[in-house]
């Protein structure tokens, strides 16, 4: 920012903070150094409008009003109680917690905002060492394009419409949702709220929203029910690990290390002329286990249970069929 402009804006803030009277634009033009240089009324008002917008963008509470009914035009002032950050003093362990919190974000929305928050806390006299070592550093990303418009809608209390693709489905459908909050859970972002089309509570994954969500309806129309734990709505759908199944497999010697890590070796066995071992392992998610085991191809053969053996066989058959469909070769 050019020195002249920065100087003018600092003077404007100091002046409006020190006055209890509303100061009209014409009066500010006389007082604040820099405005007097404006070559015309039009140039002055253009500059003044830009300055006001800049102050409001920074969150400076610029009040508009008249000192009496006889005033011909609106004036301006900044109420000190609305401008100033409240008193705060932090113990060193509290300051370390704040530093860790400010480092949490890897996010276009929040990384700069957290830095701005720290700057103000320091200006309030708090000492925060941004680089204080921590035992573990949590990091959270916000990379979805839908994040910012959804958060804006939540904070404004407005409903949103967006196109949403369900998992495994091919088409996106238009959904109208009253959003209660945006939730991060295990590296994914969700919006939780009341789905107007379904008439029920729903959660939507941000990565499955196509295009930009659009806010509709009046501000303040959406109210989040008091007794809803947003994180629970998201994480609750994923908890409850199914009971584990014991599987026995044959694995070629020196292969399938990922599988051997959690397995017990039961004994040696030659399979189709290849040396290997029989392993026993606990499987927690039999459905995804079939894909994981199938990935090892001929290096692993499932002995039991029979359902898993068939699932892996079907997986390989699917691969051969889809490859065959392309090349026209026989299966």
């Amino acid at each position: 920012m050019a020195t002249v402009r920065a100087e003018r804006l600092v003077n404007l803030v100091l002046c409006l903070l020190s006055t209890r009277q509303y100061l009209p634009a014409e009066r500010l033009r006389e007082i604040i150094p820099g405005y007097a240089d404006a070559p015309s009324d039009e140039a002055f008002y253009r500059t003044f409008e830009r300055d006001k917008a800049e102050l409001r963008d920074l969150g400076i509470p610029l009040e508009t009003g008249r000192n009496s009914v006889f005033d011909p035009a609106d004036g301006y002032r900044i109420a000190r109680r609305d401008y100033e950050l409240g008193d705060i003093a932090l113990e060193s362990d509290e300051a370390a917690a704040v530093a860790l919190a400010a480092r949490l974000w890897e996010s276009p929305e929040f990384t700069a905002a957290a830095r701005g928050a720290l700057r103000k806390l320091r200006a309030a006299g708090v000492n925060v060492d941004e680089h204080a070592p921590a035992a573990i550093e949590p990091k959270v990303r916000t990379s979805e394009a839908a994040f910012a418009p959804l958060l804006a809608a939540v904070q404004a209390g407005r409903a949103v419409v967006f196109d949403y693709r369900r998992p495994g489905s091919t088409e996106a459908h238009r959904r109208t949702v009253e959003p209660w909050g945006v939730v991060a859970w295990r590296g994914r972002w969700y919006v939780v709220g009341h789905d107007r089309d379904r008439g029920a509570r729903r959660c939507f994954r941000l990565s499955r929203i196509s295009g930009k969500p659009e806010a509709i309806g009046a501000v303040g129309q959406v109210h989040r029910p008091d007794n809803v734990d947003l994180l629970q709505v998201v994480s609750g759908q994923q908890h409850g690990a199914p009971p584990s199944t014991v599987a026995r497999v044959w694995a070629a010697r020196g292969r399938a290390h990922g599988l051997r890590r959690t397995a017990t070796v039961l004994g040696d066995r030659v399979q189709g002329g290849v040396d290997g071992e029989v392993l026993e392992l606990d499987l927690h998610y039999p459905d995804s286990a079939a894909g994981w085991i199938a990935g090892y191809g001929p290096d692993v053969v499932v002995l039991e249970p029979d359902t898993l053996r068939k699932a892996v066989y079907e997986t390989h058959l699917g691969v051969v069929r889809s490859a065959g469909a392309d090349s026209g070769g026989e299966v």
Binding site: G116, A135, I136, E137, Q155, A184, R208
Partner: protein
């Protein structure tokens, strides 16, 4: 935000910052504001020219300089910083609440005290509209791994470990110099200098099969940079080989989970993607496990290898039934 756009907020924060720290070193102030000392001195010169209407000697902000220090002797009424904006308050409150609700990351009692004070100062106790759950999948981490990693990072010791590399399906022994422990997307990672790979690597704690702290200081080379996570965990390199895959709707998650270079929608809900990979055997395992929900279009050698391994697997399984 550009440097220019940060200047006004910095100028407004600078006076109260100095008011609360009489005689502070200019270099320290520059560090706290994240600017060069030269820039901070320019800011001070500017503020010296600002003040209250009248703009005479008693109206302007007054500073007194020591050899390397500065003190505000008149603040022109600017004694407190501006309150936090909505997004500044959100960024801090959401992060503090997440830390407060996640035992095992840091001292939650200190976090709660800090949270109460920040809420009080910014005057915001209501919901921010954002909730972050930090709980990880810690059940999969072997006993003793957490303790050893914490001990090593706290006391700056090297560790020897047996580690499973998923991309190569390989278990190796290596000695690493720990840098920090990071919790990202539900997994804990040890960021360390790997002496074997001679580079900074992330080691997922649930893939450490055995670990011991070595009585030897952790000594990553002085010039190594911590990992930038803003682009995600998987950072494909341009020199890596790539494969073109056609994904059926049930396999769309692949394109959500791994970064893809190209994404084309096809009829019947299929998509075509181009993906980079560091290890060919990993790509073969991925496609084999997708059971026909993904088809390799290119390169043909990869398609052949996948098909051949699927056929061999079926032969071996048939073989088992007949013996």
């Amino acid at each position: 935000m550009t440097g220019a756009a940060e200047r006004l907020p910095r100028l407004l924060a600078l006076i109260p910052y100095l008011v609360s720290r009489p005689g502070i070193a200019v270099a320290q102030a520059a560090e706290d504001f994240g600017v060069a000392e030269r820039q901070l001195r320019r800011d001070l010169e500017l503020l010296w020219m600002c003040g209250l209407p009248g703009y005479g000697p008693g109206d302007l902000i007054d500073l007194s300089f020591g050899s390397d220090t500065v003190t505000v002797t008149y603040d022109a009424g600017m004694r407190r910083p501006l309150r936090l904006t909505t997004s500044e308050a959100t960024s801090l409150l959401v992060a503090l609440r997440a830390l407060a609700d996640s035992p095992g990351i840091t001292d939650t009692a200190a976090v709660r005290r800090a949270l109460a004070k920040v809420e009080d100062a910014v005057g915001q106790t209501r919901s921010t509209g954002v909730v972050v759950g930090l709980a990880g999948r810690e059940h999969a981490v072997r006993p003793g791994v957490h303790d050893a990693v914490r001990e090593a990072t706290t006391h700056r010791k090297a560790v020897r470990m047996r580690y499973y590399t998923a991309s190569r399906d390989e278990v190796t022994d290596r000695t690493v110099d720990p840098m920090r422990l990071v919790l990202l997307e539900g997994h804990s990672y040890l960021e360390a200098w790997c002496r074997r790979a001679e580079g900074v690597r992330l080691f997922r704690l649930d893939r450490i099969d055995a670990i011991e702290v070595v009585d030897e200081p952790a000594a990553p080379p002085p010039d190594v940079e911590p990992t930038d996570f803003s682009a995600g965990l998987f950072r494909p390199m341009p020199d890596q080989p790539s494969a073109e895959l056609e994904l059926e709707p049930d396999a769309h998650w692949v394109a959500e989970y791994y970064p893809v270079d190209e994404f084309t929608e096809l009829p019947q809900g299929r998509v075509r993607v181009r993906m980079r990979y560091s290890d060919r055997s990993w790509m073969v395992r991925l496609v084999l496990g997708l059971g026909g929900q993904a088809r390799v279009c290119r390169p043909p050698e990869l398609a052949d290898e996948v098909r051949r391994r699927a056929l061999e697997a079926m032969t071996r399984a048939d073989n088992l039934l007949s013996t």
